[in-house]
Amino acid sequence: MKHSFIDRYSDLDSLIHRLDPRTKLVTSVVFIVLVVLTPIRNWQAFILYFCLMATLLIISKLPPLYVLKRSLVIFPFVLLIAIFIPFFKPGEIAGSYNIWLWQVSVTYSGLLVLANVAVKAWLCIFSLILLSSTTKFTDLLKGLKQLGVPKVIVLILSFMYRYIFVLIGEVMRMRQARDCRNFGGGRLRQLKTLGNMIGTLFIRSYERGERIYAAMLARGFDGEIRSLHRLNFKKVDAYFGVTFGLVLISSGIVFW
């Protein structure tokens, strides 16, 4: 069974792909922090951020349509959180509507907050897509490890990456088995079946976890997580880091 990968397109070759994962991790985090800290009134800064992301995406040779599609995934979450802000934030009224019994009004400052959240979230997701689509997940894990992220967390992530496909496969097989036996009936019954499936999935995962641990023990695992590879920090990483940093700093100086 094939699934879409978390790190699809990470086997392309470009300047960005060849960078050390640590460079990419650090610059992504710096970029995100900076974007979040920039006040929305400095709209020129955001144009610059977008241009920066666009340039990097072009250099990375990722298909633009794919990036755009994936970036839209974030909006349901943003809207869920921020959609009500324009209605509740006090300020100058931009428009007023009657919905059934209520009268609701939208304020300019509220709209600004909504735009703020949406734009920032979009920029951040762009940088994360850039990071995850140009770096193999295994390299990302190595980078995290060498940046001093606790080994347990790296190990959890690596198990997630390894077993998410197995779990998806299991869920799909369960769903097929359910559909084959004519899943139907009332809503309540459907919910009950769904609950049972979730429970079964949990128990299966738990037992699989036990078997995996036994397989690890059988090969001499003693709680200590060891690894072999070291990454190489190349000259191009230094150039990239410095350039990226300079662009961000200058944007800060110019627009703040």
Partner: protein, 244 residues
Amino acid sequence: MDKAVEIEKLSFFYPDGQKALKDINLVIYPSENVALIGPNGAGKSTLLLHLNGILRGNSTVKVFDLPVEEKNLKEIRRKVGLVFQDPEDQLFSPTVFDDVAFGPINMGYSQTEVKQCVTQALKWVGMNGYEQRSPHHLSVGEKKRIAIATVLSLNPELLVLDEPTSNLDPRSKWSLIELLKRLPMTKIIAAHDLELVRTLCQRTMILDEGEIVAEGNTTGILDNIPLLRVHGLAPEEDSSKALT
């Protein structure tokens, strides 16, 4: 060293108190291939898990004259390579290389040694060039081979296999059997696949309800249809007539 495995009066209870193994006695000699057959739930996998101390009943298991005890565990786990039935459990790393290297790294080998072990192990199972692949993109047959490579990388003296041919198509199955034939170490194989047993093992034991109920020369055991039938390993009389 004249015995690869020696088990005396081993009993084991599941956490819920149910008896899984009852007074198991067995001896396996070096470079022997021994099959362990029996119906589902007979305790085959449970018995195998005692061979490297994942489970410990009353400590009466000896592997290459080392009692399976806390202080010997590391040495025993190097000498005993246990391959689980489901390769999805055995292969837990993001890449094939990491998985095959897991044992050697745990044993504290140096970087060059680890690389050598991995290359050698993958060569044994004919899977060179798969180092950077993700296990979840491999076929079942390939996964089984890599699972075997993950224990071969420690150069074990005893290879313990739980259902090595389950879920394999005939071609993958026979090529796996050929592969196992070429491996020189002592082997204990738990299986339902009697073709595998006949081709690979000189000696066979039948395990049923946690007890070893029969033991002997493979041909002798597998040709004794009434014995197999009693333990659910051969078709009932009516159905076998219907087939012939």
